[in-house]
Symmetry: C2
């Protein structure tokens, strides 16, 4: 990881927050979608499919930003900026299931589109916060 997590904001990378991921469409329009995530201490990991717009956006422009609102203090947030640095097939949806459980959905099952599932790995290059 090339950036230091701002002091007092680390919990936002640990909590199961519905984060909002920004990507850029090929026509230059930003796109923002809520996402589950997991932080492994170095990268941010997402479950995604190869069939959606976000995936095509990232293959056109790999830059990504993630906005995390503090659920306890909505005036505080952390924005993480980075790049898509890796993707791993998840054809059984195992990572999807792990994320679903992390988000409190104990009975998460592999999704119908698991054959197209991938784990996206985002670098952590810089932070902004309030």
């Amino acid at each position: 990881m090339s950036a230091t997590i701002p002091e007092g904001y680390g919990h936002l990378l640990e909590l199961p927050i519905y984060a909002h991921l920004g990507t850029v469409r090929p026509d230059g329009q930003p796109q923002v979608n809520p996402m589950w995530f997991e932080f492994d201490g170095e990268h941010l990991l997402f479950t995604h499919t190869t069939k959606r717009a976000k995936y095509r956006n990232l293959h056109s422009n790999p830059r990504m930003s993630l906005s995390l609102l503090d659920p306890r203090e909505p005036f505080r947030y952390l924005e993480v900026r980075g790049t898509l640095v890796g993707e791993t097939p998840d054809p059984e949806g195992e990572f999807y299931v792990r994320l679903g459980r992390r988000y409190g959905i104990a009975d998460t099952r592999p999704p119908a589109d698991r054959a197209d599932r991938v784990i996206l790995r985002m670098s952590v290059e810089s932070f902004t916060k309030q």
Copy 2:
């Protein structure tokens, strides 16, 4: 307004949700920040200052996208895509105060940076949802 609000999603434009606004930085990196908003039936309105990165982003690329997560059902969200179509000075911070009260902060006062405050007006061009 050039787009029809998807049926069953209109409440997301009315509730005081902390929405996440995507813009694009001049270097092509997306930026996402939580924002207060108000929907006037035609445009989305935000309070902002002329001194921040988002403002500079929008003067470089006026396209904007707003992600609204349903607080009652986190699998549902609405994304609004549009463009910055207007901005109005708010030098007394009156719109800031109105938004703060809409978000449940009854004692909202004009902010210290009110001299730089503007009301940003975003067109509603298309929706995506889940």
